[in-house]
Symmetry: C2
Subunit: 251 residues, 2 copies
């Protein structure tokens, strides 16, 4: 923080920090193919875990655990579980899409030097948790917030993260020794990368394209894509997207 | 981004950006009590929504919608639904804890000028979604990643965000016109604030305390809090926490 403090103009500092946060968010990628074998230091790993631990949680429940995996043998078992699940998932797609699926690189379990399984303990704070009564899944939401914090902190460290969800949950629990009452929420591959792609890998591969944001925003009521104060918001969204197409990252 | 580019030393730029990201993550708060009535401009609102839209999503599904609510009448109905749910939840706690619960300020639905309901459309990308076969809830995880992006972008804009989860889901769907096959995941109060608290409000109120991170980290196997390479990580985590107790934000 010392360097940032050298800049004396608080408006400059605020704007630089804001730009850094947007740059971080817009350049974060789900990495599968670009991992390097370089080791991640304890200092960097600890910072990234601490960022995750500072996520919001329902009723300050902090329902997460972080299982950090460096063992090659463990990662090999996890990789085998992925291969089985991938073979199962491939059959869900038809013809061309199935062929495209089989060509995609979907994880870096063995290439990334660190894997992190982020779990959710549904009983962490006892039976009554403030804010969780009407929707028990909010503990899982909190855990996902921790995952996203971890991901963004990692990006700021120059680390790539890839979230692998192609597993049978029971297989993952079995390999990692996770009790059945603890949910593995995210299995993350973490490591330095040769480069970060300009766009999401599935977008570049032509799997799916990004939806224009203005089609996803409603005003005051579901399905209402227009109201007396909405024009300025929609115009501004289109402006940002136009700049993005021209290569700008954030306003 | 122009200002950041003026700094010619890439190491300086990297370190400043990294510090800004950590500062952002560590100073984000779940705001209930400090909202100001100041309007949020279309420019700022659009940037924050765009950050949410750049969250990761399973199979690039982008299952989210953003329902932006400025209408006072709608917010009043939502607030009434909150009051009913709060009365229900209060009874889950015993004696002293129930009294403490009733004294807590838990939302800023009417004080914040903008509310945003972030929803998940489970059918967004058709029946087969890459990475979702073995865990259909991954679309909800993606939506939560969008919420966390929105929250952090808002913090970088100087905006507070409060996530209200004390609702009956059906009541919220009814008030906002959300179809039953669309899940409201987060109901967010968004606005400028008088100040950001140093720590989470529930921690300051003595509701729950922060768990030391090293108690939540395992190595190579669930429950294994020690292995041949874990000492450095645990020491480093304790070091960061000690600095945090002394008032430092990030390394």
């Amino acid at each position: 923080m010392e360097r940032a403090a050298e800049l004396t103009d608080p408006v400059d500092r605020f704007e630089q920090a804001r730009a850094a946060v947007y740059q971080n968010i817009f350049t974060r990628r789900d990495v599968r193919s670009q991992f390097l074998p370089d080791q991640v230091s304890d200092v960097v790993l600890s910072r990234v875990l601490m960022a995750a631990h500072h996520a919001p949680s329902v009723g300050f429940m902090q329902p997460w655990n972080f299982l950090v995996i460096r063992s090659k043998a463990v990662r090999q078992r996890v990789h085998a579980a992925f291969l089985l699940a991938r073979a199962e998932e491939a059959t869900k797609f038809d013809n061309e899409k199935e062929e495209q699926y089989r060509r995609l690189k979907l994880e870096g379990i063995l290439e990334a030097p660190i894997n992190i399984c982020v779990t959710c303990d549904h009983g962490r704070a006892g039976p009554a948790v403030l804010g969780r009564t009407h929707n028990p899944a909010t503990d899982i939401y909190s855990t996902v917030c921790a995952v996203q914090n971890l991901w963004l902190a990692a990006r700021a460290e120059g680390l790539g993260v890839g979230w692998v969800s192609i597993f049978r949950t029971a297989a993952l629990q079995n390999i990692l020794g996770i009790p059945t009452n603890i949910s593995p929420i995210a299995y993350l591959c973490v490591g330095y990368v040769s480069h970060f792609l300009d766009k999401p890998e599935l977008e570049l591969a032509g799997w799916r394209s990004r939806t224009p944001l203005e089609k996803l925003v409603f005003f005051d009521q579901w399905g209402q894509d227009h109201c007396e104060w909405s024009d300025g918001v929609v115009q501004r969204i289109r402006h940002i997207q136009e700049r993005e197409r021209q290569g700008a990252i954030a306003e």
